[in-house]
């Protein structure tokens, strides 16, 4: 393999930019391999590979999870309707990072709120409504990470590209970006809506100095056509392609509990490694499946085209008001070769009834989340036997605490720390002091500057 393809193998880029994209993703892999080497104590114990550099046959492994955000669901036990409403409520990106964002213009800073969706299983949706009637016109779903779109806007310069060779550094194609927005979201999208109109900065505490976040003119992934007025790509900070690679890399490290026994089950492992959100469907599933492969002596990577995919939609769940077949209303619209990164559910022209009349398992369609509940997401891992065997496990970095009033809600604490008030040890894991000299090697997924 010479190049890594775009997510969904979409054909937006010219050859030069495609090579730039490939180099960028390859650089992320290399960075993760280096990080993993630091975790395990040497390159010899790394079992995560760059797909461009894997020799030998690869066996594909599909890893699947539910599209509806489990962190939202578990916070509304026994009340799916409330969970669907909550999944549709935008959240503040500043709250996510624990900062306040500011638009900085002529030296003056004005507080702003950047929004993201809490739909954090690598699947986000938007309900388009007819402005005249307010009735639902189309429900769109995406699994495209923000990175590809930032790349479209600003090329490799949108990222920290120290590892990207000079000859692969490319500029963006803002004409293409606008064209895609107009195709996918609507012709009303204006170019200036897609970019920050001022420098954007943030600070953690009121008295702190402002820290730069994005420059004026940089692509704004949280623009209105990707949040309150439309959907182009994922917005949740954890829903990123870089996050997928980071997670797979971190999951390639076998772990052992305080007693030295291997940590293998999904719940314990995602807590032990301190990866992502232990409440999600996706992260524990991905982590465990990758880890299983490594413990059997295989080396792992991600299958090209690397992406997060809308794998299936159970069309038996939807019907018209009198049982009419509406399965044809579901339509993949972006991605090739069965690798769907965007799909929509909408009535065909001339349909006798609209989305507001559709039933999902007998209940009126009111929220995009009802369709997400019958959707499955996937990524494609790949494994190769490079004859290296399984590496020795490393100790846990973190463990999970469960909420006393709802033990299905988990949070991470570092090893050696007690659970906060109102929380108890999940999985019967008591706080243990980490071995002397062992640094906390937990990997934070979504950094503020990533």
């Amino acid at each position: 393999m010479e190049k890594l393809d775009t997510p969904g193998a979409v054909r937006d880029l010219d050859e030069r930019r495609l090579a730039g994209w490939s180099a960028l993703v390859s650089a992320w892999f290399d960075r993760m391999i280096e990080r993993t080497a630091g975790q395990v104590g040497g390159a010899g114990d790394v079992r995560f590979a760059n797909p461009l550099r894997v020799a030998g046959p690869l066996t594909e492994r599909r890893i699947s999870w539910d599209a509806f955000p489990r962190p939202v669901k578990v916070r509304h036990p026994g009340d799916p309707a409330a969970a669907r409403r909550a999944a549709d409520e935008f959240r503040s990106l500043g709250d996510y990072y624990g900062v306040t964002f500011y638009a900085v213009r002529d030296g003056a800073a004005e507080e702003i709120v950047l929004l993201y969706r809490p739909q954090d299983e690598y699947c986000e949706w938007f309900v388009e409504r007819d402005p005249a009637t307010g009735r639902m016109a189309r429900i769109v779903f995406t699994s495209e990470g923000h990175e590809y779109w930032r790349f479209l806007a600003d090329g490799t310069a949108a990222f920290d590209v120290a590892e990207v060779p000079e000859e692969f550094r490319v500029d963006g194609d803002r004409v293409l970006l606008l064209r895609l927005y107009r195709e996918l979201v609507g012709p009303q999208v204006r170019k200036k809506d897609l970019f920050f109109g001022t420098d954007i900065a943030y600070r953690r505490e009121p008295g702190d100095p402002l820290q730069p976040f994005r420059k004026k003119g940089a692509y704004n992934p949280y623009n209105k056509w990707n949040t309150v007025a439309g959907l182009a790509h994922l917005t949740h900070p954890e829903n990123s392609l870089h996050g997928e690679i980071s997670l797979a890399a971190a999951a390639s490290v076998p772990r052992a509990g305080a007693d030295g026994s291997p940590v293998t089950d999904a719940g314990r492992l995602v807590c032990c490694a301190g990866l992502g959100d232990p409440n999600r469907s996706s992260d524990p599933t991905i982590v465990t499946d990758v880890n299983d492969l490594v413990r059997t002596g295989l080396s792992v990577t991600l299958r090209d085209p690397i992406g997060l995919y809308i794998a299936s939609f159970d069309d038996a769940a939807v019907s018209g008001p009198d049982g009419e077949d509406v399965s044809s209303w579901w339509r993949p619209v972006r991605g090739t070769g069965g690798r769907t990164v965007r799909a929509e559910f909408a009535p065909p022209p001339g349909a006798a009834f609209g989305l507001d009349d559709v039933l999902v398992n007998g209940l009126p369609l009111e929220h995009g989340g009802q369709l997400a509940e019958v959707m499955t997401m996937s990524l494609f891992g790949a494994a190769a036997d490079l004859g290296l065997g399984a590496p020795p496990p490393i100790p846990c970095d973190q463990r999970c605490c469960a909420a006393d009033d709802n033990p299905d809600v988990l949070r991470l604490v570092p090893i050696g720390f007690e659970c906060p008030d109102g929380w108890h040890s999940a999985f019967g894991q008591a706080a243990v002091v980490p071995p002397a000299g062992v640094a906390n090697r937990a990997v934070r997924r979504a950094g503020l500057t990533a």
């Binding site: 492994r61 539910d66 036990p77 314990r268 469907s281 007998g362 469960a402 033990p407």
Partner: protein, 477 residues
């Protein structure tokens, strides 16, 4: 953690511990168009004094076991039939209890509208189809068919007096050896409810000394996994998804729902000649013994021995095994058993792996979560194999239809790569349903098989609510 007190005088015996009698009769009525609430109240008032509480159900079960073990004479069995009643969401609405009618959205919508079950069109149903929906279902059971028939006659007469329209009348009978019509022993693995039955803290089910198990679950005895009762009874602590031994707060529900449960009733017709012929064809194609192939579809031999175990398992050993981890020998009890994570001895598509993946991680998360999907099965066979209409009257209890029955029947049984992730192992060939006109396919040990035939055909049924005895009195008033 302290286990809750189970009110054995308030919980219906059909929920706990189940009837277990040889004969059972199911009677269903639709409420009349005029004054449906009055009709419902009239019938419920007549039924209220007949409903069997859990305490009597447990005593009857103990007596039956004593008879079976030769410790007491059959004449000591109480001949009085046991009776239970369950109500549709429509009935609850008619009675002015919207809060109960909307207790679970699948219950509110009704089984006929749950498209993803991929059942035949409701218009083709013989039970609960359009215009024949079951609003009130009575299940009555006993050892003495004559006395049972007399009780059924009294209940029918009560329904006539109440002006309820009969829409269902179905007799069931346990087959010798508790097998279903394909010849396999059924009902071996059931969750065991946590809970105590008196102020002294006597557990509902006796706890045998058990070593720490590698799956981190708690067991009442070998193979008898303990589950918090809120999975099956409203108002009680439910099972934590993340910790196999801890409880979670009860599912939010109105006070009147306490000690009640959601009932799934499905009439599942079994095509016995079709099953034998089709599996015979598959076996011939693969060059294997048809009995072996059928056992792989089920995951057990007809007498209940699990394919996972390589020994001649008997008694508690039938349920003492895991998939991901080997189970240890229990001192003075069953022998240990090796694991079979990838389906080397029992295919991943086997029925018992599809609907109960035990200690194996699933697409829904860690094995602890699997405990929250368990159901209490109360089914009974009907008809005679080879004599036309025969099958299983599938009955099960839970407090969350989507996360329990529907997850097992729709998502796991009907998905080729679930519950075990990443491996396309095919569907559960016994009950898995796929898109009409599509072959059902499964990977068995000697190779892949596929068929367009359905051996188990859903003929309809209903989602119902089985109230507590105290709630029933309120509803009847």
């Amino acid at each position: 953690m302290t286990e809750p007190l189970l009110d054995l005088d308030d919980i219906q015996a059909h929920v706990l511990p189940g009837f277990g009698h040889e004969h059972q009769w199911l009677l269903g009525w639709r409420l009349p168009g005029d004054e449906p609430a009055g009709a419902a109240r009239a019938l419920l008032a007549e039924l209220a004094g007949r409903i069997t509480p859990a305490r009597r159900g447990l005593a009857d079960r103990a007596a039956r076991r004593a008879v079976r073990r030769g410790r007491t004479a059959r004449s000591r069995l109480s001949g009085r039939p046991a009776t239970a009643v369950a109500l549709s969401a429509r009935t609850l609405r008619m009675l002015g209890h919207d809060e109960l009618a909307t207790i679970d959205e699948a219950f509110t919508a009704g089984m006929a509208r749950r498209g993803y079950l991929r059942d035949p069109p409701p218009g083709d149903w013989t039970v609960g189809g359009p215009g024949r929906e079951i609003d009130i279902l009575v299940m009555t059971a006993g050892e003495d068919l004559e006395r049972l028939a007399a009780a059924v006659e009294e209940i029918r007469a009560a329904a006539v007096r109440a002006r309820c329209e009969p829409v269902h009348d179905q007799q069931g009978r346990r087959l010798p050896g508790d097998v279903e019509h394909f010849g396999f022993r059924d009902g071996i693995s059931q969750p065991v409810l946590r809970g105590v039955v008196d102020a002294d803290g006597t557990p509902l089910v006796e706890r045998l000394p058990m070593p720490s198990m590698p799956d981190h679950r708690a067991y009442a005895g070998p193979g008898d996994v303990l589950v918090w009762p809120g999975q099956f009874l409203f108002g009680l602590p439910r099972q934590s998804e993340t910790d196999p031994v801890r409880s979670a707060p009860a599912r939010r529900a109105p006070g009147l729902a306490r000690n009640g449960s959601l009932l799934v009733y499905r009439k599942l017709e079994q095509d016995v000649p079709g099953f034998r012929a089709d599996t015979g064809r598959m076996a011939a194609g693969l060059g294997v013994d048809p009995d072996r192939l059928r056992a792989e579809m089920v995951g057990r031999w007809p007498d209940g021995r699990p394919l996972v175990r390589t020994d001649d398992a008997t008694g508690a050993e039938l349920n003492h095994f895991g998939y991901d981890t080997a189970v240890p020998a229990i001192p003075g009890g069953p022998r240990g058993a090796d694991a079979d994570p990838d389906g080397a001895r029992c295919p991943l598509s086997a029925h018992i792996r599809k609907v109960n993946p035990r200690d194996q991680e699933t697409d829904k998360g860690p094995p602890s979560a699997t405990l929250t999907f368990a159901i209490l099965r109360r089914g009974i066979t009907y008809g005679v194999a080879g004599d036309g209409d025969c099958g299983l009257l599938f009955l099960c209890y839970q407090t969350d239809l989507v996360s329990q029955f529907e997850l097992l029947a729709q998502r796991w049984a009907g998905s080729p790569d679930r519950p075990r992730q990443g491996l396309d192992n095919g569907v559960d060939l016994l009950i898995g349903r796929v898109r009409a006109g599509t072959a059902r396919r499964a990977r068995l040990l000697p190779g892949e098989v596929s068929t367009f035939a359905d051996y188990v055909i859903p003929r309809g049924g209903a989602y119902l609510f089985t109230p507590s005895l105290s709630a029933l009195r309120v509803l009847a008033a």
